[in-house]
């Protein structure tokens, strides 16, 4: 081989080796094994549910695959479950935290304090103040792995839980906990929660719908720093030039409608799911079920009924029955029931289409008391 050819091979060989090393680095880091521990499923659940007071700050991302039919009032809540949401969080406690949803050109920050929430939207320069409510649409803090994991595990029974090994999440050892709901009408196949071995903090949650291979919702921390963040980072004072408004509440119209509608006594059970007690909501609003299998029934005001009906009819896969139109988006079933006396109810929950149809028939047969 000539000296020139040798030089060519030497130089390109060095470049190839550099590329190979750099390309292999992510795979090597990703293959670092996680350390498992012999923690029983019930103990791990208790640790996760009791982690609300663990202080931390972090960076999380959630990816939802639910293609929800939306109306103008529900767009933001639907986006949380259909898009990729990137969040920064500073957590001092359940009533003292900050969650920023990051966008390429701005951010929407939710600051929770003892009296309620400030929601800051940079691009519209609006600060909205909201009060705590017993029934509210999902917001970004609800999508954090820590919050969602605690919520989903809070009512799990011992028979529904099993251990599933360990993995590394956000650079920490996370112990796996699998929840398989016992209710026959559940549309959730399983929920995998990966819990921080040291603190009990849920670090990743995957919700898999019945019959699906990919998670309908996957939320996880990418970075996590344990330790209580400073109060100054969590607190919020609206900027001087911001427009201050009351926080919009899409459910208020439904609740008002429930209060003003003729007295309706919702049944004690729907589709085999018992009704849950709820404070501060009118009798026409109800939540049924337990754990990860729940169904909400909310009256729809006449002004919103036609828009909702159009959105559901236009959605692919919608099924029209005598009681109304129903639709499944991943594990979430939605049904609009319009009764013969022209009242309308929205049913939404993690139940099968058959179960929501059965519940819809139960609502359709209701008469004012």
């Amino acid at each position: 081989m000539s000296a020139r050819a040798h030089g060519v091979w030497w130089r390109w060989g060095a470049v190839g080796a550099l590329v190979a090393v750099l390309a292999a680095l992510p795979a090597i880091v990703g293959a670092l094994p996680a350390s498992d521990a012999a923690v029983p499923a019930a103990d791990l659940r208790d640790a996760a549910v009791g982690s609300a007071d663990v202080g931390f700050s972090g960076y999380a991302v959630s990816a939802g695959g639910l293609r929800l039919p939306v109306t103008q009032q529900l767009t933001e809540a639907a986006d949380l479950f259909s898009d990729r949401t990137t969040m920064r969080v500073w957590w001092r406690g359940a009533d003292d935290h900050r969650v920023d949803v990051l966008g390429a050109a701005g951010e929407t920050g939710v600051h929770r304090d003892a009296g309620g929430t400030w929601t800051w939207d940079y691009e519209s320069s609006v600060a909205a103040r909201g009060e705590p409510a017993s029934l509210a649409l999902p917001s970004p803090p609800d999508l954090l792995p820590s919050s969602l994991g605690r919520r989903l595990l809070s009512e799990a029974t011992g028979g529904e839980l099993t251990r599933i090994g360990a993995r590394r999440v956000a650079g920490r050892d996370a112990l796996g906990l699998r929840l398989v709901p016992a209710e026959p009408g559940s549309s959730v196949d399983r929920v995998d929660v990966w819990v921080d071995r040291a603190t009990g903090l849920p670090l990743q949650v995957e919700v898999v719908a019945a019959g699906a291979r990919q998670p309908a919702l996957d939320t996880r921390f990418l970075d996590l720093d344990l330790g209580v963040p400073p109060a100054s980072v969590v607190a919020f004072t609206p900027p001087a030039d911001a427009r201050i408004v009351p926080a919009p509440d899409p459910l208020s119209a439904a609740l008002d409608s429930g209060r003003s509608s003729p007295a309706v006594q919702l049944p004690a059970a729907l589709a085999g799911l018992p009704r849950r007690p709820l404070e501060g909501v009118p009798p026409a609003v109800g939540v049924y079920g337990r754990g990860v299998t729940q169904l909400a029934v909310v009256p729809v005001s006449p002004g919103n009924t036609s828009g909702l009906r159009r959105a559901l009819h236009a959605a692919p896969g919608s099924v029209v029955g005598p009681a109304g139109v129903r639709l499944a988006a991943g594990p979430l079933a939605v049904m609009l029931v319009e009764t013969p006396d022209l009242r309308a109810f929205l049913l939404a929950g993690t139940v099968t289409l058959d179960a929501v149809a059965e519940a819809g028939n139960g609502i359709w047969r209701l008469r004012p008391s």
Binding site: R4, G7, V8, R11, W12, A14, V15, L18, V19, L22, P26, Y59, R84, R88, D100, L102, G103, A104, A105, G106, E107, G109, W120, D121, Y122, E123, S124, S125, A127, D223, V233, F236, P238, P239, D241, A242
Partner: protein, 269 residues
């Protein structure tokens, strides 16, 4: 040799014409926004463009965000693609290599001149943006508002703007490295520039696809807009550090490839 290359680059009228054209778009956008008072709706348009209506001092950032996705990388790709291939096409490359300095030093000199072009271009865009913003829009004299809604002092605003200028400059180094590498592969400056642009267009397209999310962290354009993170409070360093590291990897690998190719190729023109 570096001085010669810098002098050659900045004496060319087309260099300054490119920079001037690059500034025309942000100026036009500022005039249109001022005349119509129509800022982009939330979630649409370049970062900071809606904020300049209340504080024109932020317009350097809006100007950078306007040129960053397309105009700036085109300019950098054209200059970088021309660096070696332009000499070959003009028939001057073999005379340059006749000097005792060597091919590696010539490559380094070309790289330094491209980096200088990137830096000067970004600085001019920011300076023209500042002049435009403070002339066309109202200015808050004391402070500004961070993306997170906290107050920023004038010193903090200036410091973070300078960091953003530096970050955008580094972000363009990957484009420059692609252009320089392709410039050593061909005698056609146009082909080299188009090659670099093809990589960037492919990267931008892949970034929008969910199916490409496993490779998204390694796309050269992935972290370009992370300079916005400098204006969050606290500053979000995550994507900024990853963006700097990623550009460093691309620059290192592509310069090594350019060096391996250029130092062993037959130069006949």
């Amino acid at each position: 040799m570096i001085g010669v290359e810098l002098s050659k680059l900045f004496r060319r009228p087309r260099t300054w014409t490119t920079i001037a054209v690059l500034n025309a778009l942000p100026v036009l956008v500022a005039v249109l926004v001022r005349l119509t008072d129509l800022a982009p709706r939330p979630g649409e348009g370049p970062p900071f463009l809606s904020a300049v209506l209340t504080n024109g001092a932020l317009y350097p950032l809006a100007a950078l965000a306007i040129v960053l996705p397309l105009f700036l990388p085109i300019a950098v790709a054209v200059v970088a693609g021309d660096s070696v291939a332009g000499e070959a096409q003009a028939g001057t490359l073999r005379y340059l290599l006749a000097r005792p300095a060597g091919r590696t030093r010539l490559l380094v000199a070309k790289l330094v001149s491209v980096v200088a072009f990137v830096l000067v271009t970004v600085l001019v865009v920011a300076a023209v943006g500042y002049l435009t913003g403070t002339t066309v829009f109202d200015v808050q004299p004391a402070a500004g508002t961070s993306v997170s809604g906290t107050s920023l002092t004038q010193e903090e605003l200036v410091g973070r703007t300078l960091l953003a200028i530096g970050y955008v400059t580094v972000s363009m180094l990957g484009v420059a490295a692609f252009g320089l590498f392709f410039s050593t592969l061909t005698d056609s400056p146009l082909a080299a520039a188009l090659g670099a642009l093809a990589v960037l267009v492919a990267s931008s397209l892949l970034f929008t696809l969910d199916a490409a999310s496993p490779i998204a962290p390694y796309l050269p354009t992935r972290y370009w807009l992370a300079f916005v993170d400098l204006f969050r409070d606290p500053v979000l360093w995550r994507d900024l550090t990853r963006g700097l590291a990623l550009q460093g990897v691309y620059v290192g690998v592509l310069l090594a490839a350019a060096w391996a190719n250029f130092t062993t190729k037959d130069v006949t023109s």
